[in-house]
Amino acid sequence: MIVAEAKPLEEILDSLKGMSKVLVAGCGGCVAVCLAGGEKEVGIMASALRMKRELAGEPLVTVEETLTRQCDPEYVKELGKKLDGVDCILSMACGVGVQFLAEHYPDMWVVPALNTKFAGATIEHGLWEERCGLCGECVLAQTGGVCPVIRCAKSLLNGPCGGSQNGKCEVKPNACAWQLIYDRMKSLGRLEQLVEVAEAKDWSKSRDGGPRQVVREDVKIDG
């Protein structure tokens, strides 16, 4: 899932300066799962904003609405009914949701409440970790199911740098991705596979070529 976390409240208040009625828009997708922008967090955010603005002598009216998903035009349309007198939408979705709202409501000012962090998963309650670098050309078959592109601080494709010690990366308290790769390949009897020199990556398949598209002619519905 896409993992996100709330921006500091002060930053959000700053982006809502001068607004008197704000629609706080939640998302029932990934950000609800990672407890950042679902219905519950929308309620908490809206009341925190109202309280802060009340204290500042600039009361704020909030409207709360959580869509099934903000990254789907079908659900985004539903928000239209709630925009009466609204100056601004505060999106509690990931960056995709914020942009979808901005695209669908060209006359509306839309600001983000979250920082979108990464594609990852829940490790334990309250801890999420990145797992996929969205590089566009998966190397997991070469690396035993552990991604060096995103889990190695240097995205090394040919083994650990000199800073790997006792299983740890020198940069963070995280595990060294290459230690994990090594351990797995060894236990599966595939160490010799790691002696092959991995070719340089084609980064044009990653973010470097501008926004990427996936086109599937077979599932397109031509009107």
Binding site: K154, N158, P160, G163, Q165, C176, Y182, V197
Partner: protein, 306 residues
């Protein structure tokens, strides 16, 4: 362009036990310090590494520093890391360095930017060190850029170096990684500073078992330690460096810790010289370049061959 073998390559091919040193370029736009160190060191070392923004701290570029070394009559080994440049900039700098007369290049990943003075920087790592080695080799042997496009004339013909760290983990993979570097085109290897002699000997055993000592010139890295405090700091804070307690204790007990540090380094060199497959030493006297002559002399490595 005339074929011109580097002095380092020539001496290694002649079977000389080679000595290299290291000069850290300054955090300023002046080259006189590098030239001064070169003058001081050139009778004692066969070549000098110029580090590439080591520990991710902005310094005078390694290529520019190498030009200062040459101007002062020394032989440079340009370090080139993958942290700050993509494949376009790396190849461009290789062309530039060669055009200025540089013949030795040492390819490394590069220290992570979080250790340096620009922690908010974006790292590049478009290529990793092994892919960089292969790129330098292909430019020379295939006369082709990384993309495959032909270099129509005057291709750079570098003597290619790489590093190996026998003290990082996973230990067994360190030898395989060395093998990968050699397969990719590394001709000489400089190791991380060796303090744990037992582990290094084990590493060399494994390397010899795979015949690696015959496929590349392995130069053992050493570092003189000024005092017990420095040894303790390195023991605790530098990843990928193993400093045995015995060395810390020996320094602590010494009356003159600095002299003892030099003596330890000299003994290490003598020990390393006897390990089969070790073809030279690389002396990393970080911010203490002036001690190198004493060490080389003490280790009986004079006079240097020409």
């Amino acid at each position: 362009m005339a074929e011109e073998k580097s002095k380092l390559q020539r001496l290694l091919e002649q079977g000389e036990f080679v000595v290299s040193g290291e000069i850290g370029p300054p955090k300023s736009a002046a080259g006189d310090g590098v030239r001064h160190h070169t003058e001081e060191l050139k009778p004692y070392v066969d070549a000098m590494n110029l580090t590439d923004n080591q520990t991710a701290i902005v310094r005078l570029s390694s290529i520019a520093a190498g030009i200062h070394v040459m101007a002062a009559g020394g032989e440079p080994i340009i370090q080139m890391t993958c942290r700050d440049r993509n494949r376009i900039a790396l190849q461009s700098d290789l062309l530039g360095a060669y055009s200025l007369g540089v013949r030795n290049v040492l390819c490394l990943s590069g220290d992570h930017q979080s250790f340096g003075n620009h922690q908010a920087a974006k790292n590049v790592f478009d290529l990793d060190s092994i892919q960089l080695i292969k790129t330098v080799r292909d430019m020379r042997d295939k006369k082709a850029f990384h993309s495959g496009e032909a270099i129509k004339k005057d291709e750079p013909r570098f003597f290619i170096g790489a590093v190996a760290n026998p003290f990082a983990d996973p230990f067994e993979f360190r030898v395989l990684r060395l093998e990968k570097k050699i397969r990719a085109g590394a001709q000489f290897i400089q190791t991380q500073c060796i303090f744990d002699m037992e582990r290094f000997e084990k590493f060399m055993d494994l390397a010899r078992n795979r015949g690696l000592h015959e496929q590349a010139y392995i130069m053992a890295g050493v570092m003189p330690i000024k005092n017990a405090k420095v040894a303790k700091y390195m023991q605790k804070n530098v990843s990928g460096m193993l400093v045995p307690d015995g060395i810390v204790e020996r320094l602590q007990k010494a009356e003159d810790q600095t002299a003892e540090g030099v003596q330890i380094c000299i003994e290490q060199i003598q020990q390393l010289k006897s390990i089969p497959g070790v073809r030279g030493v690389h002396i990393m006297a970080v911010a203490w370049e002036e001690i190198i002559p004493t060490i080389v002399k003490g280790a009986g490595l004079l006079p240097r061959p020409q």
